[in-house]
Amino acid sequence: MPFSSLSEIKSRLDAGETSAVEVAQLYLGRIAAHNGSLNAFVHIDPAHVLAQAEASDRYRSEHDAPRPLEGLPIAVKDIFCTQDGPTRCCSRILEDFHAPYDAQVITHLKEAGAVLVGKTNMDEFAMGSSTETSAFGPCRNPWDIETIPGGSSGGSAAAVAAALTPAALGTDTGGSIRQPASLTGITGLKPTYGRVSRRGIIAFASSLDQAGAMTRTVKDTAMVTAAISGHDSGDATSVESAPVVDWLGACDVTDMKGLRIGRPKEYFIEGMDAGVRASVEAALEKCRELGAEIIDISLPHTKYAVAAYYVIAPSEASANLSRYDSVRFGHRCDNPEDLLDMYTRSRDEGFGSEVKRRILTGAFALSSGYYDAYYLKAQQVRTLIQQDFIKAFEQVDLIATPTSPITAFKLGEKTDDPLTMYLSDIYTIAVNLAGLPGLSQPCGFVDGMPVGLQWIAPAWREESVLSAASAYEAATEWHSRVPAAFGSDGGES
């Protein structure tokens, strides 16, 4: 049971073979047993989890039909505002913060009958690729606890990979769902920008941020994404007319006949691990066997994506994080001499070093005399990156790439050099800049560590990545592997 998919647990609940309370107890037990070694959760309130599960069982007994996620446990990253419990974005500056309202996606999950199991660890303010910048200490990868789980949604990824929860929500600004999904051997989807409301998600870079699902199977990702999507009048960038198709139905596809898959030459370059390359090439070969045509394409501005991102994201972050002024909420320093002393010392004490690095990068890029050379230039390059994708999609239906050039690295290995860390998102960042949907799924192992395959589709075509990923998943067994150290106390099935 613990490593069952969300769909399998749903079937057992619907058949009356188990109850939401039993399911909740199972995962609470696993969290109690394993969170000490993983540090995947930063907040758990077992009594509150059981109360939600009891309410779900009661709903089921009193209604003809269960809701879409009735009784299913879902963990959420510490970036989502929840009225219950703390919301700290894994930052010291929010150590005493309690959100006065639920994020729109949390409201959606509650309305769908889900049981929220707790808050997961993350890089502070989602700034990082390894979940090492968290104020609550680093999270670890269940496949080897000496390595990082990726980031910034590393807690959600590790929790799903070790079956401390069957599903979790993450957010993705430059790869923060897909890269940790890749490094921990699970599936994660960043939806099209505007598909999911950002209201109540603590802002990092507003033109890039999207929330999405992290699960054990593609169909589970479709289930959760369907539940959290939709226009919200409280987020002006959530799109009103977004086309919605039957995403669950899209997951019943088992072949790739007639599918044209683009293989961008700029994504298969020096610097990528040989084992990762071999796994992804083998995955493309599998797609060919399933009936797809693999077409070599070019996305010529790929090599500028990381540089453009590290102007745009920090610039937006420096503006968004100016709200932490220690007046209305957030950490305040002791005995401020005057207003300026209060602002500057509170922010120095409250923010960690990576967050300061990004705020300063952004403040510089937006400062007088540098705006045209940095911010404006980066937004122009962003347009060229979007146009690369638009041209490519005239030729192909989908693009397939590695999700990360490397498998999980050791804790502390890249913390001294921020630039090397930034380059670990080289394959995921362009997707955010262009606002496209991107999914990562497991496609192999190198020395026991998972490798991810990334699917990219045109805007609003989530069903297209879900179908291709489902066909690949049906033909392979990578998604069903279990990290040995967390599989032994497994329960009944």
Partner: protein, 92 residues
Amino acid sequence: MDIDVNKVAMLARIRLTDDEAAELGPQLSGILGYIETLSEVDTEGVAATAHPHDAAMPLRANVVTNTNRRDELQASAPQTESGLYVVPKVIE
């Protein structure tokens, strides 16, 4: 590039310790040096992205939708008094 890290930090309202400034200076220079690869790209006549899908901003009815929740909203504030936020004296 040589940047005055304390000046940038003051723009961002962050007071760095001397040790932090000494570490962040070279790191920022390294990051900005990398970003300068953007200057290789010919962007003559290219429009800057304003929105990932060029979408229009939707309008909503101009009516009040939020209620008065002062107590809840102030519960996370560092210091309040009589429903007001307290800060150090601004005018002597």
